[in-house]
């Protein structure tokens, strides 16, 4: 287990009052909504960024907005840090707690409150999982667009916290582009509503600010999101190339031609092998890089768009073009892609990077990534959202070897700096969390960061909400 990333030192005054705090929380919550014993707390000690673990002081599992407000009001009054949590699928450590913190886990607030097709909206409690929204609306011909790979488990509240994306965001945008309103609780327990079923804010766009704020501005308890009419059909097509350069150049040309497919996913050879071994998706194994391009619409429309894409791929010496013949086959293709992280976890420990780069730099960054990882004596698999330049190098290492883990973290940092240096950013959709916190100064100047931190403090003056995350620990206001 690595320890390179620091957490804030636990507040001794909070730790010493632990018993009293737990007793007070027990007055605020039904008995089944408070976890305080060691065995019960263990599942909350980390998220999907498993290299770091901290056992929290207690876990609150509220069932209502009023309970969320009561817990926050109490913690605010007595200066107890609070770490909001959805399903704990964060890859950047966004939901990892700390010893002096109460975890506020929204998983019990999991009701779909309203599906309003006349206005094309869904209103949900924060603990509703991403996939359930689309499943619930499917029968009436609608879906919710952002689709993180963890969509089976991750919650809409967590999606808002991280402004989550997914494969289909190329056409439909990320969470912030599909979020219409929230009910949220501020750190002092005040309940506010931002937005609603209407478009655009009346005053400042606080909703836009809250989306992607990683649980630092408040705790969202309900959300209203946009539903979209499901396309008539969708078809993923596999394009195999000998080299990553060819695949990368093909992506750039597809976008430049004015075609915006629903998704363009990229896998390099190691990723293809890992995913194919796990999902038996029928990926070609004799290629160096694979693109999954999904188009949608009527049959005629998909044919027309695919013809153009096939023609462009031809200019980049495409080796294999495979259209799927059935919905089952299409589902399998996506299963392979979406299980990439899980499949990788079967063969090695890994950390997943999330930098985003301008499209024209894709090939360069892929090459440099390979060189960087090799220089640390490690292996890398690349599987990512190429259409919007959102890279996900998976750096493989052995977690039982502390030196290996440290090398993996160092390689990851080098890759993220590279992304920033070519005009991109540290994180496209996973968030800063603890993982990228100390790299923030590479992307932002002291003034840029000070402005962000001042805005953060306008919501949470005492820095109680998810305090170890996003902003470097020193130099806070």
């Amino acid at each position: 287990m690595s320890e390179a990333i620091r957490f804030l030192a636990p507040r001794q005054d909070v730790l010493s009052r632990r018993a009293a705090i737990v007793a007070d929380l027990a007055d605020l919550l039904p008995i089944e909504c408070l976890v305080q014993d060691a065995r019960g707390l263990a599942p909350f000690e980390t998220d999907a960024f498993v290299s770091y673990r901290r056992v929290p002081l207690a876990v609150a599992l509220p069932e209502t907005t009023a309970q969320v407000a009561a817990v926050l009001k109490y913690c605010h009054r007595f200066n107890v840090p609070v770490v909001p949590r959805g399903a704990g699928t964060s890859l950047s450590g966004g939901a990892i707690p700390q010893e002096d913190a109460v975890v506020l886990c929204l998983s019990k607030m999991a009701r779909i409150l309203e599906l309003d097709y006349a206005n094309r909206t869904a209103t949900l409690q924060a603990g509703v999982t991403n996939l359930r929204i689309s499943e619930a609306a499917a029968i009436d011909g609608f879906f919710y667009a952002p689709d993180p790979s963890s969509q089976l488990a991750c919650t809409i509240g967590g999606n808002i916290g991280m402004n989550s994306g997914g494969a289909h965001c190329l056409k439909y945008g990320v969470t912030t582009n599909n979020l219409l309103g929230v009910k949220m609780v501020l750190v002092d327990g005040t309940v506010i509503e931002l937005g609603g079923k209407h478009l655009d804010a009346a005053g400042y766009d606080l909703l836009g600010l809250v989306c992607g704020s990683e649980g630092q501005l408040g705790v969202v308890t309900e959300a209203t999101v946009r539903l979209i009419a499901k396309p008539e059909g969708a078809r993923p097509v596999l394009f195999g190339f000998d080299t990553c350069e060819q695949a990368g150049a093909c992506v750039t040309d597809i976008i430049a031609s004015g075609i915006i497919p629903v998704a363009i996913e990229f896998m390099d050879k190691p990723a293809i092998e890992i995913c194919e071994a796990f999902a038996k998706a029928g990926y070609p194994l004799d290629v160096g890089a694979l693109l999954i391009v999904e188009v949608e619409g009527s049959e005629a429309e998909m044919d027309a768009v695919l013809d153009s894409i096939v023609e462009i791929a031809g200019r980049h010496a495409v080796k294999t073009v495979r259209q799927c013949q059935s919905p089952t086959e299409a589902a399998l293709i996506w299963k392979g892609r979406k299980s990439a992280f899980g499949a990788t976890g079967r063969i090695a420990d890994y950390i997943c990077m999330d930098g985003t780069v301008p499209l024209g730099k894709l090939s360069h960054v892929l090459n440099r990534t390979a060189e960087i990882v090799e220089s640390y004596g490690l292996r890398v698999a690349n599987v990512f959202h190429a259409g919007d330049g959102n890279m996900h190098p998976l750096i493989l290492f052995n977690a039982n070897d502390p030196e290996d883990a440290a090398r993996a973290e160092a390689a990851g940092n080098d890759i993220l700096k590279l992304c920033v240096d070519v005009g991109g950013c540290l994180t496209g959709e996973h968030g800063v969390g603890i993982e990228k916190r100390d790299l923030m100064r590479h992307q932002y100047s002291a003034i840029d960061l000070a402005q962000q931190m001042a805005v953060r403090a306008a919501f949470d003056e005492k820095w109680l909400l998810n305090p170890s995350k996003v902003f470097p620990l020193d130099g806070r206001t």
């Binding site: 478009l199 606080l206 600010l209 009527s298 950013c425 840029d448 306008a458 919501f459 902003f471």
Partner: protein, 399 residues
């Protein structure tokens, strides 16, 4: 009038103004200068001296420009590459009776969006990154130039729609979309407002990707495309994309819409003109200062609001965004209290007084009043950006 020609100059001016507590009226081309509340008198501080496209690689579909670049210059460059701003920014000169050149910074500062907004996002959704000078005279960068970016707090969204009360934009980076090769508009005729809302909701539930849905009642329909719309109120639906695909979708849509009323199609030239006129609120570009409201509500609530108001006041209205955007011209009084009460009763939303005689503007808040906690939060946010309170003070009301 202060017109800096560099970010450094702008920062210098702001630092001095902050030290003296001197108010600045931030603007671009001032074509939307009549927006918002009457604030304190302030010296005009325009970004129009910061001009020029800094970076545009059509293949990346991203552009960076200085904030004072005229929108016309941006659109000319995009048009040459068959690209566009997805959010279709409206031109306010017609309804506001202003002249001058709208700037790209002004478009984002006012979060100005047009008919495609309800499916393709607002100006704020296309804005990827900004540089601005805050009220302390510090140059701040936020966001970047890639589509996906969740690095830190999204100050970009905050600046969009802040009407020059949080920062002086110096540079904006925004995403682009390819221009659709084909456009088709279906007109369903003779529907009343309520039936039109149903028809538009039905259209949006179909997998045909409607990219414009407006309802033009009898009182306004003759003001569009030189009176060339078919007889009766016009419910108009736009389809865009590859021509083969648009044709297939148009047939599907027409088949379903036929159950609501007679369906006709416009010729392409009429189609382009129609949506530009809807975008620019042509019926109310009438050379008057009669009170004009812009109301954003749930699509199914828009017509209910108008029906309720009609019982008590003289109001003329038409609808965009599937009925969720209501443009309302009042015959006499602005009826602000009544209007805002009804909006709350009908499920919420907000009304902005876009235009009114000065006497009315001095007594009516231009923006929907916010709940106390949200207003307090907004004021605290503003305090962090403009601690001396010198940027367009009073323009957005309590904040």
């Amino acid at each position: 009038m202060l017109i800096p020609t560099s970010e450094t100059d702008a920062a210098y001016i702001i630092r001095n103004a902050a030290a003296e507590g001197k108010a600045l009226a931030l603007c671009g081309g001032a074509t939307r200068a009549g927006f918002g509340n009457f604030g304190q008198p302030a010296e005009i501080f325009s970004a129009r001296g910061l001009r020029g496209i800094l970076d545009y690689d059509p293949a990346e579909m991203v552009m960076t420009a200085r904030a004072g670049t005229p929108l016309a210059e941006i659109e000319a460059a995009l048009s040459g590459n068959r690209q566009m701003l997805a959010f279709e920014p409206m031109d306010h000169r017609g309804i506001m009776g202003t002249s001058g050149e709208p700037t790209i910074g002004g478009v984002f500062a006012a979060n100005v969006s047009g008919p495609r907004r309800f499916v393709a996002g607002a100006a704020r959704d296309s804005l990827l990154g900004v540089r601005f000078v805050n009220g302390k005279g510090e140059a701040v960068k936020a966001g970047g130039r890639v589509m996906k970016n969740v690095t830190g707090l999204d100050l970009v969204k905050l600046l969009a729609g802040s009407f020059g009360t949080l920062g002086f934009l110096t540079e904006v980076t925004f995403r682009l979309l390819p221009q659709p090769p084909a456009v088709e508009t279906l007109v369903v005729s003779g529907l009343d407002d309520a039936a039109a809302a149903q028809a538009m909701a039905a259209a949006m539930a179909l997998p045909v990707e409607v990219s414009g849905a407006a309802h033009l009642p009898l009182t306004v329909r003759h003001r569009f495309v030189n009176g060339g719309l078919p007889e009766g109120a016009a419910t108009v639906l736009r389809l865009e994309g590859l021509s083969a695909s648009v044709e297939v979708r148009a047939q599907k849509l027409a088949a379903v819409m036929a159950a609501f009323g007679p369906v006709e199609r416009l010729v392409p030239e009429q189609s382009l003109l129609l949506w530009r006129q809807i975008r620019d609120v042509a019926p109310y570009a009438d050379g008057t200062t009669r009170p004009l409201w812009r109301v954003s509500m749930a699509p199914s609530a828009g017509h209910q609001l108008v029906a309720a108001l009609r019982l008590e006041a003289g109001v003329d209205a038409f609808y965009d965004w599937q009925g969720g955007l209501v443009w309302m011209r009042m015959e006499a009084d602005a009826e602000a209290d009544l209007l805002r009460r009804y909006i709350l009763a009908l499920g919420g939303g907000h009304a902005t007084l876009v235009r009114a005689p000065d006497a009315m503007r001095s007594t009516i808040g231009a923006f929907q009043p916010q709940p106390e906690a949200v207003a307090a939060l907004s004021a605290r946010v503003r305090q962090t950006m403009d601690p001396a309170g010198i940027f367009n003070p009073g323009r957005m009301g309590v904040i």
